[in-house]
């Protein structure tokens, strides 16, 4: 788990990504279910865990995709059965995460979300997220 200090040093928050920017994350089929209390399908908390390689969690900035005239479906290519969930940058920052743009050759909108993610924070992300591309029924 990355500490706040490590994140500030290695993945500093970019205030240029405003709080309203939607940040998209692919959700695999093992990581969503129908929540009777919410009355809708939602991601599980396990969907918002940092990578095993020590890298912070990856997301994609929707405003970059839009500004390039792209479609959000481009980040779903090759991932049949996956869904796409969204939280905005302000929601991540509210839980003490940094938002660090990390453009890749294959995906310019790629961004890292760095910060401690105890289970309570992951559960909050899971319940607050909204679908951009919902799971197939």
């Amino acid at each position: 788990m990355s500490t706040r200090e490590e994140c500030a040093s290695n993945f500093p928050n970019d205030p240029g990504v405003t709080d309203e920017v939607a940040l998209l994350r692919r959700i695999p089929p093992w990581h969503f279910y129908y929540d009777k209390k919410l009355g809708r399908t939602r991601p599980r908390s396990a969907a918002f865990e940092d990578d095993d390689d020590g890298d912070p969690m990856s997301v994609y900035r929707r405003n970059i995709i839009d500004s390039e005239g792209g479609d959000v479906a481009r980040v779903m290519t090759g991932h049949t059965g996956f869904a796409l969930a969204s939280l905005n940058a302000g929601q991540y920052r509210y839980k003490e995460q940094t938002v660090y743009p990390d453009p890749l050759h294959e995906e310019s909108s790629h961004t890292k979300i760095c910060g401690p993610k105890p289970e309570s924070v992951r559960r909050w992300f899971a319940t607050q997220s909204k679908w951009v591309i919902p799971p197939l029924p």
């Binding site: 695999p28 990581h31 279910y33 209390k37 599980r44 396990a46 095993d52 289970e119 559960r123």
Partner: protein
């Protein structure tokens, strides 16, 4: 990759084919079974005691051998199948850098399920975790229970009753009875 659930007998396989520990001793088990001092009479009477859990690779099949002190319920067997299915996940199964699930984690999950599940306990969702762990979840109209198995020694849980607002979040070590009591509430519904 198909899975097979078996119980009881030895199959004469090479030791190298055994993916999990061959024998579990009380010194290697950080759970309720490993610390008789914290086991109450009630837990001892009702929990399913697994004498041995072995996961083997036999050709393309994963074989689980479970040796218990009484017959295994259908629900428990189904939950074992769900756990073993996760062993087939490749690296990067979440489309990012997720780690495959290791057999030691699977064995730990099976043992925790044995301690928690009663005949009327609903099937849990068995969920892979990005860093190679397993998450067990029960969700009803009023109860949410999640068990997080990060390593065989690092297990925690969260439970919440929606109507009363009562909740608990704790490491499993030393809190086995607390978790068991929450899961028993599922069975009473």
């Amino acid at each position: 990759m198909p899975n097979t659930i078996l119980g009881g007998n030895e199959y004469g396989l090479a030791e190298a084919a055994i993916l999990s520990e061959r024998w579990l001793s009380t010194t290697t088990l950080p759970d309720v079974l490993a610390r008789p001092a914290v086991v109450t009479a009630a837990v001892e009477q009702s929990a399913l005691l697994l004498r041995r859990v072995i996961i083997r690779k036999r050709g393309s099949e994963l074989v689980v051998e479970v040796n218990a002190h009484r017959p295994l319920s259908t629900e428990f067997l189904k939950s074992i199948e769900a756990v073993v299915e996760l062993l087939n996940l490749p690296p990067g199964w979440n489309s990012y850098s997720a780690k495959p699930i290791g057999p030691q984690i699977a064995v730990r999950a099976i043992r925790i399920l044995a301690e928690l599940m009663e005949p009327l306990t609903p099937l849990p969702a068995v969920v892979p975790r990005v860093q190679g762990g397993i998450q067990l979840e029960w969700h009803t109209d009023t109860l949410d229970i999640e068990v997080y198995i990060d390593t065989p020694d690092q297990v925690s849980f969260f439970a919440e009753h929606g109507e009363s607002g009562q909740s608990v979040e704790a490491s499993l070590a030393g809190q086995e009875q607390t978790l068991r009591a929450w899961v028993q509430r599922l069975s009473r519904k």
